[in-house]
């Protein structure tokens, strides 16, 4: 993000200190909450550590597998936020992406890698189209995307429910879910005897590409310019703000849809209503912890993957409900928001620096 450069303001605390402090404060508050609610802090913390990093299985089959959708959805959020687009609808875009990928994979089961690629493209396209509704409402009718994307999340959930109860449902199955994908439609595993699949590589490539575009190309510069100050971008930079924000919205939705496609073909192998335990919302914390930097999203995605894998183990071993992970996420967002106060968006002082020295950003 442009605003984080040392040139923006000389008296800023280093980014790394902020992040470490944020995590420390969050963990302290979290452990305090555990203790207050009568939980056994020692047992819970040990279970969490074991579940996230304690073994080869925990690391490669729990933490990193969980990190894949979080990295991709986190990247989707980071990309939109970078352009000042509050895409809270990554959850819904993930769901329609997963649905479209499932439909494609079931329709063309014998096409091998080509079908698999088609499923990915279908997922990304569906995600972009779903985001496109909100983008269109924003450009054409000035509808606040925060509200429209949330509404689209609920609509996506109902659409998914309809699909698995009807057109995409397994006729012979007991549960409302799609038939299992044929194994030719599964993303290959990349480490033997673990569940880590090719989606991890896809996520890394997506982040690396996004990082390159954002920091090394003119389009990326326009994106950051618009995100930092759309008004200045329009006047001083002669940038079409609508075009930049709409493109960012579509790209963001596309990445979220791809995340859904990867999850279906890499992990669940079938479509069902609870396919996302709220990845699209956790993604907001992932993106903010990464300071909207696509490369850093990898690290924060793995971090939150560890948190969720650990929380799952904590639920099994210590009886602490897994939803406490979202309390941790919310606390991290609040602490980071505090560190970033009044700096994220529309900060006039920042744009001067950015325009004067594009290379430093």
């Amino acid at each position: 993000m442009i605003a984080s450069g040392p040139t923006a303001s000389p008296a800023r605390i280093p980014r790394s200190v902020i992040i470490v402090t944020a995590i420390a404060i969050t963990l302290a508050v979290f452990l305090l909450l555990l203790a207050v609610s009568g939980g056994n802090v020692g047992v819970a913390a040990r279970a969490m550590g074991r579940g996230a990093f304690g073994s080869r299985y925990a690391l490669f089959s729990a933490t990193l597998v969980r990190a894949v959708p979080l990295i991709l959805t986190g990247l989707a959020v980071a990309w939109a936020f970078s352009a000042g687009v509050f895409n809270i609808g990554v959850e819904g875009q993930f769901l329609v992406g997963a649905s479209a990928a499932t439909a494609t994979a079931l329709a063309f089961p014998s096409g091998g890698l080509l079908s698999l690629a088609a499923a990915m493209v279908a997922g990304a396209t569906a995600g972009a189209a779903w985001a496109g509704i909100a983008a269109w409402l924003r450009v054409r009718f000035a509808v606040l995307e925060v509200i429209s994307t949330i509404m689209l999340n609920f609509l996506a959930l109902q659409l998914l429910s309809y699909l698995v109860h009807g057109p995409l449902g397994d006729p012979g199955g007991i549960y409302p879910q799609s038939p299992a994908l044929p194994s030719s439609m599964w993303l290959p595993r990349i480490i033997p005897n673990t569940r880590l699949h090719l989606g991890f590589v896809i996520a890394l490539i997506a982040c690396a590409s996004a990082w390159f575009v954002k920091t090394r190309t003119a389009a990326g510069f326009r994106l950051r310019l618009v995100g930092a100050n759309p008004h200045a971008a329009r006047i001083a930079g002669r940038v079409s703000v609508e075009r930049v924000t709409t493109t960012a919205f579509l790209v963001s939705g596309g990445i979220a849809g791809l995340a859904g496609a990867v999850e279906v073909t890499g992990v669940t192998y079938a479509l069902y209503e609870s396919i996302s335990p709220g990845y699209g919302y956790t993604a907001i914390a992932v993106a903010l912890l990464a300071n909207l930097n696509p490369a850093a999203v990898i690290v924060s995605g793995v971090g939150f993957g560890a948190l969720e894998a650990g929380a799952a183990a904590m639920q099994r071993d210590a009886g602490v409900p897994i939803v406490v992970a979202s309390v941790v996420e919310a606390l991290i967002i609040l602490v980071l928001a505090t560190a970033q106060r009044r700096r994220w968006f529309a900060d006039d002082s920042v744009i001067v620096t950015a325009v004067a020295s594009p290379e430093s950003a």
Binding site: R140, V146, Y162, T338, Q340
Partner: protein
């Protein structure tokens, strides 16, 4: 009751929590704050109501709902105005926090026992004579107490915002906090009071859901009502009467499912459940270009305004 009577009745009943939350949000938005955490305030209030009703009955339930709503509103206010964080990001965090915390506490405290299913609930109060008017009688006069509160709140907030000095000051803050400060308005106090009012009403909205509609608590039961309420504020153009109309429209969209069931129409039930959300999108697009949001909505306060 005839199908049309029960349709009207359930429209008003489902509109009640939406209107409560939307009236509070309208007031804070008039003071320049957009609280996306409204959803969190409602689910917090709902859980507070469950907690209160479990231990002390309906009145305690409503009081606890109001307290939790205010507490979460104050948390939002602390970050947004005193610390100066981004309103949208903070609101999102408050919603995630409230959804997660209520879900976790619900599982820990109520998970295996059926205690949540046997709480005291608030029965509709029929107003003698008026409730027996055909068609609209049950809809307007056989409702939970909080609906009657709405009847009072809509005109009172309208009068207060448009006819009193303090209401004018509040609206001035939403247009230009700086100008308000220069005119001697104590911006921080107004915004703090507005947040408390909003928190109380959002909490009450959650309490109404639990105590007067569903009869129990479920994880995530707010189901987007906070966001629909924010849409109702836009649709109602930041005016209490308009907001009431918008809330009633969304209530009717939700109530339509009972109507469709009564008629025996063969529509996928997901389409019926999706209706309020689709209607929200359509309504927001419909009022485009004709709304005048408070000019300073969502902007952080400048330091000169926070110090007053």
């Amino acid at each position: 009751m005839s199908p049309i009577e029960s349709f009207f009745e359930s429209s008003v009943r489902t509109a009640t929590p939406l209107l409560l939350a939307a009236l509070g949000e309208m007031v804070v938005e008039r003071a320049g704050i957009i609280n996306i955490g409204l959803e969190g305030l409602i689910i917090g209030g709902a859980f507070g109501a469950l907690l209160g009703a479990t231990h002390g009955g309906v009145a305690v339930g409503f009081s606890a709902a109001i307290c939790v709503g205010i507490a979460l509103a104050l948390l939002f206010y602390l970050f947004v105005d005193l610390i100066g964080t981004d309103q949208i990001v903070t609101g999102t965090a408050v919603t995630i926090l409230a959804l997660g915390a209520t879900g976790a506490l619900y599982r820990v405290w109520y998970g295996s026992s059926g205690a949540a299913l046997s709480i005291a609930t608030s029965a509709p109060v029929a107003i003698p004579w008026l409730a027996s008017i055909p068609i609209i009688g049950p809809a307007l006069f056989r409702q939970p107490t909080t609906t009657y509160l709405c009847y009072a709140l809509v005109p009172v907030t309208w009068w207060w915002m448009n006819r009193t000095h303090s209401g004018l000051a509040l609206r001035a803050i939403g247009e230009s906090p700086h100008a308000a400060v220069v005119s001697g308005v104590r911006v921080s106090r107004y915004r703090l009071a507005a947040m408390c009012f909003s928190g109380a009403l959002a909490g009450l909205a959650g309490g109404t859901l639990v105590l007067a509609q569903v009869g129990t608590f479920a994880e995530g039961m707010s189901a987007g009502r906070g966001f629909i309420a924010i849409a109702a504020v836009v649709l109602g153009r930041w005016n209490p009467l308009g907001v009431a109309g918008a809330a009633l429209l969304f209530g009717a969209a939700t109530a339509l499912q009972f109507w469709i069931q009564a008629l025996g129409l063969r529509v996928p039930y997901q389409a019926v459940l999706a209706l309020p959300y689709a209607l929200t999108l359509a309504a927001l697009a419909g009022v485009a270009g004709r709304v005048n949001a408070p000019a300073a909505l969502g902007r952080p306060l400048a330091p000169d305004a926070t110090s007053s």
